[in-house]
Symmetry: C2
Subunit: 307 residues, 2 copies
Amino acid sequence: MKCSRCEREAVIFIRYNGEHLCAEHFMEFLERRVKHELRRQVDLRPGDRIVVGASGGKDSTTTVYLLKKILSMRRDIEIIAVTIDEGISGYRDRAIEVLRNYLKKIDVEHRIFRIKDSFGKTIDEISSLDKSLIPCTYCGVFRRSLLNRAARELGAKYVATGLNLDDTAQSIIMNFARGDLDRLARLGPHSIVKEDLIPRIQPLRMIPEKEVLLYAILRGIEFYHGTCPYADLALRNQYRKAIDEWEARSPGTRHSIVSVYDQLKPLLIENYKNFKLNRCEICGDPTPSKICKACELKIRLDKIQNI
Amino acid sequence: MKCSRCEREAVIFIRYNGEHLCAEHFMEFLERRVKHELRRQVDLRPGDRIVVGASGGKDSTTTVYLLKKILSMRRDIEIIAVTIDEGISGYRDRAIEVLRNYLKKIDVEHRIFRIKDSFGKTIDEISSLDKSLIPCTYCGVFRRSLLNRAARELGAKYVATGLNLDDTAQSIIMNFARGDLDRLARLGPHSIVKEDLIPRIQPLRMIPEKEVLLYAILRGIEFYHGTCPYADLALRNQYRKAIDEWEARSPGTRHSIVSVYDQLKPLLIENYKNFKLNRCEICGDPTPSKICKACELKIRLDKIQNI
């Protein structure tokens, strides 16, 4: 099949807009959308520092690569890759190895923050301690909390994550189905800065997962291919499965979900603008409750250990 | 297993609230919620006439039964069951037979309106004429349009439908995933009356499908058990399947979806309050476009027939 824009052979069919694209035109197509999305989300000023949450996987490594590429003319913007090491052996350690080498090649500073250092235990240890909560619950909360602390410590203005379109649509539907209107309102990208909560930006949020993968391969981006050993447990799987099926029958479903959400978001924010975050009574981090989720889980762990 | 409220044997376990209930307490539990829901949705005045869209199936027949029971002391309220006969042979004709007999027994007036009379063709005929649209598309649009016209003709103040909790959660997620913010805002129950659009009420919208079925059986409500021969084609199936899976893993998911929607709805309505409905240039019915969906499909059919 020929590329819809030139005479070269197509490498991908973009089902939701009907175009066949060759490698060159596909990369251009993807980069243009990421640039547009980045500009839509954020107005970067001289001296701004961006921390990228970098796991070593395809999405976040591509995010580092693209931010570096798109901002190559902006010497006044600094990019630091931050890895949260959850302590999942045979998985995160290998990913870090791959990432470290690649970041050296493309000359991006790399910092590692360990969940064990901040919360006392690795996710492996937690998973054998607490049998009634899936480790993903701890991992999600601790990772988010630590990434925010790391960004604050490093003086970052923004935290970029590798969330792609599939992830975004899943998060929206998942929070809807779980009745979490509050979290639905607080999903990134963030336009409003709440004290001590570094705003998150998501340059890939309109790029389907499959396209991120193809782009990473075509650009020779080196990333870790492994899957988290706990991945089968994640609640998110059932939402991924459903949305994949809807998308297969009706191409464009993921885009529609994000588009409805983006239209609802101003209404949600308007409704929540008087919503005040408290300070966690234990760690001082911002939280909608009295004690933040991370401290709540830490207390739970301590209790289990003392039984 | 004993009933959580008395010494009798339980007939159902209400998973989302943890109670085992005997037949008596289950029926009381269901009726209380329907009464509450009805009162929340509508403030009935003397002389009000309610048209119930009655297909002969468990949901709508139970709706007729419950409205009659709940409003038994309100001699000033009139209930008329209206069946839209789509013209699906071996299915709707049988359902009508069952319904007619039952409505006679419980003394409720019954009226039938035929899609063929209003739109020129039965759904069976349409399904063999138009092979590129599923018959459910025609059926949904024609049924909704005709039910509204019937209610108007009969001078009804409200149209009640048998939508249960499962249907409601499916409609919400389906319209979200299809990017239909406009229809999301216009899902019933309707609190605002738009001229010529009879407001819909949905007494069963918080009752899970399984509970409606059990209630109908326990109360001896006679309903038609058949399934529409086109049911396998409906887009809704994939949303039903997904939500059923989520509910199985996380009981309460359907309730959460409806609850998030109900919290969003005032924001949506506020946003859409200046939204003016037009008059269809062909039939004069209210429509957000120039030509209403029913006339649009009728034109499509005429074209196909003239090829």
